[in-house]
């Protein structure tokens, strides 16, 4: 019996573990390896340069810019989709007529490709006939034609708004799932004790939504590290690298300048940041489990 269980474990796990090891784990360690070389992507020969790539990171003005932009993106990712998603979930949870239809509407963007979302928002920000400027012109009466994506001051923020538009639906459904798991008797007690809607939200709902909040914030932060496709479509990291993120910078160095060694070093930094966040996430998830069992 024991022996046959071992046999089946090996047989059943062989394919998934092999594929995962070859195409995910091994490349991960390979990235570490290449980060110590000056490989250019084509030449089969390359030299070990030690920590040179990592030393270069410190003096790379574009890298520093990318780190700052990635941090801005993360902070915005924690605030925008989380708060909007929470607000939408609370609104929809209070049994609005047509709730399921609204839920679908808010959730719909998540099934769209970043390419399409980027395309849509390029048109919103378009200087001459874009929706945003059309509205501003209608309200102010002036001939406003600011090119949101073409100006270094607003390019990153504009992309983040577009990205949040897509992410909000995801936060909303996670909060909604959290809200449905709150026991009904608790809410009934609120009503009997005569708590106002605001008190009910502040004292009962928000604290009990802690687990959902941990998940939403962590997902937003992790997804913000992956922010690449929509940037590539909307600004390409420009103008003048004003919207470069780490993922974008890594792509440019590796596949535009063919500095694969240096690109690997950036991806190692990206990995370490992701690892730190994931560890915090898992630790909090455990705490959440301990509290709410």
């Amino acid at each position: 019996m024991e022996r046959s269980a071992l046999y089946w474990r090996v047989v059943l796990l062989a394919a998934p573990v092999t594929v995962f090891a070859v195409l995910v784990i091994w490349p991960l360690f390979s990235s570490f390896f290449y980060s110590f070389t000056n490989w250019n992507g084509f030449n089969p020969e390359y030299d070990f340069v030690g920590l040179e790539n990592f030393a270069k990171i410190g003096s790379d003005r574009l890298f520093i810019g990318a780190i700052i932009n990635t941090t801005i993106w993360m902070v915005a990712a924690i605030l925008l989709p989380t708060l909007l998603g929470l607000a939408l979930a609370l609104l929809l949870d209070s049994k609005v007529p047509g709730g399921p239809i609204f839920k679908t509407l808010f959730y719909l963007p998540i099934c769209l490709s970043a390419v399409v979302v980027g395309q849509i928002w390029i048109w919103i920000y378009q200087a001459d006939w874009g929706l945003l400027n059309t509205v501003i012109r209608a309200v102010s009466g002036s001939s406003f034609n600011y090119a949101w994506l073409a100006k270094p001051d607003t390019s990153l923020g504009s992309v983040i708004v577009a990205w949040s538009w897509q992410q909000t639906g995801l936060s909303m459904v996670i909060f909604l799932a959290g809200l449905t798991s709150i026991p009904n008797d608790l809410l009934e007690v609120c009503e009997i004790e005569g708590a106002s809607t605001w008190q009910r939200i502040r004292i009962v709902l928000i604290p009990l939504l802690t687990p959902a909040t941990v998940v939403v914030v962590a997902l937003s932060v992790i997804n913000s590290l992956k922010g690449f496709d929509i940037l590539y479509i909307m600004t390409g990291g420009g103008p003048f690298h004003s919207s470069d993120t780490l993922a974008m910078h890594m792509y440019n160095e590796s596949f535009k300048k063919y500095l694969m060694g240096y690109g690997s070093a950036i991806s190692v930094v990206l990995f370490l940041i992701a690892l730190t966040i994931i560890r915090i996430y898992f630790r909090n998830l455990k705490k959440v489990d301990e509290i709410y069992g």
Partner: protein, 286 residues
């Protein structure tokens, strides 16, 4: 408000609060819909109309020229075929691998299986850039760059974490007694998996099929890296390429975006329940 709801009324009294809520949600929904409506409108308007600032008005007549332009472009069917050739095998393969691993993690745990499980599912949290260069180098050395193979392989591998996670959680709800009864009657683990656990897990497979299909169809990064010639592009990279060709033909770009999103929109509208379930399960239990 407190008094009225203590005894549950059979007919809800008129509640002005509801109307306020409805208006709030309605306004937000309008704001949320505006971008999507913009694409719909652009696809049925001429470039002239759009350039003169009439994109955001309801048109009197529908202009079909953009759709005709897209559907007669010889590249578009090729992009679609390529995307199908990538999406279907990668979706199916990743689910099969997830079923195998998920079954072991839920029904045949062993010393260290939790750690292995954690390693596998953490795969879904890392930015793909972390493994981009070595994978490019790997498939380049096999001479597979500019074919669809690397995209299929990578999506299969990257689908393993979410598929394993969902299948493990779902198999955990299949009673152990069922498995033991089957084993007592002489079935082996493979037969238990195929004949007992799998038929009970069709909802989980539906969830994964919707999620994986949508993600792989919509993906941009991997086909961008692994393909070079126009004949091998998938639809999402393809429509970015075509943007150059139609640089000011905004209506054609809108029609392209719409047609490229049609398969995922259909899947979403029909299988929305599974989609949402998968998103929340994957997120909350992760």
């Amino acid at each position: 408000m407190a008094e009225t709801t203590v005894s549950v009324p059979s007919v809800a009294p008129f509640n002005p609060w509801k109307v306020v809520l409805l208006i709030c949600v309605g306004c937000l929904a309008l704001l949320f819909l505006a971008p999507t409506v913009g694409v719909l409108l652009s696809s049925i308007k001429t470039t002239r109309e759009i350039a003169f600032g009439e994109l955001w008005t309801i048109p009197g007549t529908i202009y079909w020229g953009n759709f005709i332009e897209v559907l007669t472009n010889p590249s578009v069917p090729q992009y679609f075929l390529n995307t199908i050739f990538v999406t279907l095998p990668a979706t199916i393969l990743s689910i099969i691998l997830g079923v195998l691993a998920g079954y072991v993690f839920s029904k045949l745990p062993f010393a260290g299986s939790n750690l292995l499980f954690l390693v596998i599912i953490s795969g879904m949290f890392f930015p793909p850039q972390v493994i981009l260069i070595p994978l490019f180098q790997f498939f380049n050395s096999l001479g597979l760059i500019d074919t669809l193979w690397p995209i299929i392989c990578v999506h299969t591998a990257l689908g393993i974490p979410i598929c394993t996670l969902l299948m493990r959680n779902f198999f955990a709800t299949v009673p152990n007694a069922l498995r033991e009864a089957a084993i007592l009657e002489g079935a082996n683990e493979w037969q238990v998996l195929i004949r007992v656990a799998l038929p009970l897990s069709l909802p989980a497979i539906a969830v994964l099929a919707t999620l994986q299909f949508t993600w792989i169809w919509n993906d941009f990064l991997w086909p961008l890296i692994f393909t070079q010639s126009d004949e091998k592009r998938t639809i999402m990279v393809g429509i970015v390429n075509l943007k150059g060709q139609y640089s000011v033909a905004w209506g054609v770009q809108g029609a392209l975006s719409l047609i490229a999103s049609l398969p995922t929109l259909i899947v979403f509208l029909f299988f929305q329940r599974y989609f949402i379930k998968g998103m929340t399960m994957g997120a909350v239990k992760g």
